[in-house]
Symmetry: C2
Subunit: 512 residues, 2 copies
């Protein structure tokens, strides 16, 4: 049986305090004076398109209802939208964008609001176009395994639907209980199954996109192979809503694996984590579906936020833990491969402890320790989150160097500016998540950490955004991360598709 996991939402905790407005935190951001401001006439127009309960308007952006759309779930970004629209069809999105483009009203597409780079949150007063009311699974073909869905379908809902049909989504995230497929596509989400099923650039077969002027680009192919001209859908995968509004997604879904096995192992150094990973690639090869790792401090943070006393699956204190998952079509074969692998880990002294999940419940329990890491650190205070990719061998040196640097400056530890600096991530993809708590808000605090982490990463030929996107969080570092030629080409594409720049402004591309 395939196991399901729940998303442990922590939003209720986060809304006790309001984070400062994004444009105050990032003071280089200025409202584009070319953009119009919303008038009563605009509201009237939208009332002509949408039913009243699909328009949320309040001149006070801090009103309780608007607040949850003006703030992200990590409580790091805050905008001042007074209008949030909930279209129920592609045609409605088209009418909205056509009007906004004519009126020069800036907009921000918003999905399940689980992004961590501020991509789905307004910076100033952009109109929010939320996808939660476009949530139909349009079509599923069980021979080809192709699903065509609305942008606002929640990942977990699609997952449950597909499992009944003997298929799975080629994408799995901690935020699956809230995130929308349209948002996943727009951020080119990676997640937990990336190493097995690959990127959305390969798994998305087609997209329906409303362009900034309201034109509907119907590119919803269900074909696995189609080389008729430029592969237009690719433009919108990972464009974070700056080139158009993704309204429909055609997705190739793999078959539900007949057997899923999960193991957790304890390791004493990052070197042995790497050894265990290389051995897993050798021994488990085509059935290896996840290789996650985290450090001892990650466990500490999760435990500190535990409401009831749940014991950790592995006894003793170890520097690192890895979680492996296999997915295959023959349970006996998979078990045999996994047993041989685990035996080799112990025989060679690579692993210091380990445990194999005996059933779905235990597998879920192992996974929950990995998935609770980001939310636990968010519960511990203001969370700073980094999403880096680089040569696998450097992944943890990044964390160690950052710790050393801020320790030396006396800024890291209990009651210091930063605490709980932890490292975890998707080893199989060379993807590290570094997180820490910022204990006292100051623009400087966030910037201090950003500067160090991003500069270190760029110096080591890494990416400052492996899977979370740029949003507004990292736009200030794009000049360092990308060449002039790359930025120029990005700007050209943006200008030709969105000449007025109304689609999710201030995001991704820095001002020239």
């Amino acid at each position: 049986m395939f196991h399901k996991r729940l998303f442990h939402s922590s939003r209720a905790v986060l809304y006790n305090t309001l984070t400062p407005l994004t444009h105050l935190k990032h003071s280089h951001l200025q409202r584009n004076p070319n953009f119009a401001k919303i008038t009563d006439k605009d509201i009237e127009y939208f009332k002509g398109i949408l039913s009243p309960n699909n328009i949320l308007y309040d001149p006070d952006p801090e009103s309780l209802e608007l607040r949850q759309h003006n703030t992200d779930w990590f409580n790091l970004y805050r905008g001042s939208a007074s209008l949030c629209l909930f279209p129920t069809s592609t045609d409605q999105v088209s009418s909205i964008l056509k009007y906004c483009n004519q009126r020069s009203l800036a907009v921000v597409p918003q999905g399940g609001n689980t992004g961590v780079s501020g991509g789905g949150i307004p910076v100033f007063d952009e109109i929010i176009i939320n996808s939660s009311k476009m949530n139909k699974i349009r079509h599923f073909d069980d021979v080809s395994g192709v699903a065509v869905v609305d942008c606002g379908v929640i990942l977990e809902n699609l997952s449950q639907f597909l499992e009944k049909k003997g298929h799975i989504v080629p994408l799995d995230l901690g935020a699956k209980g809230s995130c929308h497929i349209g948002g996943n596509v727009s951020t080119n989400a990676g997640g937990l199954r990336f190493m097995r099923y690959g990127s959305l650039h390969g798994n998305v077969l087609g997209l329906e996109v409303v362009l900034p002027d309201g034109t509907i680009l119907d590119n919803l192919s269900t074909l696995r192979k189609d080389n008729t001209g430029y592969d237009l859908k690719q433009l919108f995968i990972g464009a974070e809503g700056t080139l158009g509004y993704v309204t429909g997604v055609s997705l190739l879904t793999p078959r539900l694996p007949k057997a899923v096995n999960v193991a957790m192992v304890a390791l004493d150094s990052f070197e042995t984590v790497l050894k265990a990973f290389i051995m897993a690639k050798e021994d488990l090869s085509e059935i290896l579906s996840a290789f996650e790792f985290w450090d001892a401090d990650s466990v500490y943070v999760v435990k500190s936020q535990q409401t009831n006393d749940v014991s950790y699956p592995i006894e003793g204190k170890h520097a690192f833990y890895a979680l492996l998952e296999t997915q295959g079509s023959n349970g006996d074969h998979d078990q045999e491969k996994l047993d041989a692998y685990i035996a080799r880990l112990f025989d060679t002294g690579v692993a210091k402890g380990g445990v194999l999940a005996q059933d779905t419940k235990q597998a879920d329990f192992f996974w929950s320790w990995r998935e609770k890491i980001p939310e636990s650190i968010a519960k511990s205070g203001t969370a700073m989150t980094y999403d880096l990719s680089m040569e696998v061998s450097l992944l943890y040196k990044m964390v160690e160097d950052t710790r050393d640097y801020f320790n030396q400056k006396g800024l890291l530890g209990k009651d210091k500016l930063f605490s709980n600096l932890i490292g975890f991530g998707h080893l199989g993809d060379g993807n590290l998540h570094l997180m820490a708590n910022l204990n006292k808000f100051s623009e400087n605090g966030q910037k201090l950490m950003d500067d160090y982490v991003f500069e270190w990463t760029i110096k080591h030929n890494g990416s400052i955004s492996a899977e979370h996107g740029i949003g507004v969080a990292k736009v200030g570092y794009m000049n360092q991360a990308k060449s002039d030629v790359q930025l120029r080409l990005m700007r050209s594409l943006k200008d030709v598709i969105d000449p007025k720049g109304i689609m999710n402004p201030y995001k991704i591309i820095p001002k020239a």
Copy 2:
């Protein structure tokens, strides 16, 4: 052991006759009067950049040396270039394009010249920029499996290099002995391993591209995950050299499988082919790496071109054959899965005959029957080749309907306008290759077949180019295959990146 296959080149046969000039066959094509014509001064300029043996210039485009660059290997397209350049570095490509752009000299990028849509062949007098002298493997990292290579590296050379390192190219084609990686990327080649390893849109990690104005876009990331801004490389994958010249490719290469098994089965109807395919997906799942099929007439064509008497692997006459390949990390497990699958095929009466390759040599022999199909039909006369994708259940109805249609018109058969109408392809990807011989050249003959096949395909929501690209072959059908919105967006992208339109003109996008 992993088996190697050879590309059976048939070029010597093809060059006995000259095919008519492309612009005469496609009379709607007119030379763009904005393009300059080559002068002695231009030749002087190129002599200043390239060494003399890297410039092939002859005012007579039919000179023996130029002919092989002015004609494709199927002998279907012919251009009139008098100049073919062989740059040896990215900087040289940059200097060439910068100059050509300033002078408004049109160019056509050319790789191993194995394309079948005329994409790499000039239509008029475009300067050919051939990649065969950019053939270095720049870098390979055996932990990540990432290879960074020049555009002109031959696929089979890369394959042999990687196999020694314990890796494989995630792409395999019949033309592997001649085709270049740059050409593979530019046509978004699919091939024989697509169902297992997926699309180049997922496997290409980065590209180095020279833009039409000579700017070098260094996007050669070696990271598996990188979401820093628009994924620019995607634009050039499958753009057939109309947006820039791909000079370098960063490719994620999977590990060499420890076990490879090949089986061939005989089936009596296309329905049972489909059954065998669905059962293969169930039983072989993650180790299934290819599911190819062909019809009885394909075997007949291959046998008719056999120079020595080689017997077919399966006795008796059957309507269809399928070739399955598995790639896995445990030979015993794979064999067990395959045995169970074959047993089920026979027990359920789905297969009427079958044979398992006992060694690498026999596996190669099985594969050779599949790979010889296109070249055998090319040897039989002027070959028409179609590359379609659609709903799997319709794949062979396409062939049957086409046969019926032309039979009824009295145009199909020995000594008729068309003969040898066969169907074969990559069932796993919903990709059919339909081929036939055109026995008397007439613009009308090709057009008759094109019209029927493309209209049928579009009517059934298929793609008129699954993996071969549009080139010049299908540009006349793009108005039917794509919507106005799609074509308009393609033109916008082309105009913004190549405002003078010098990069591989007349290809992909029809005139507005």
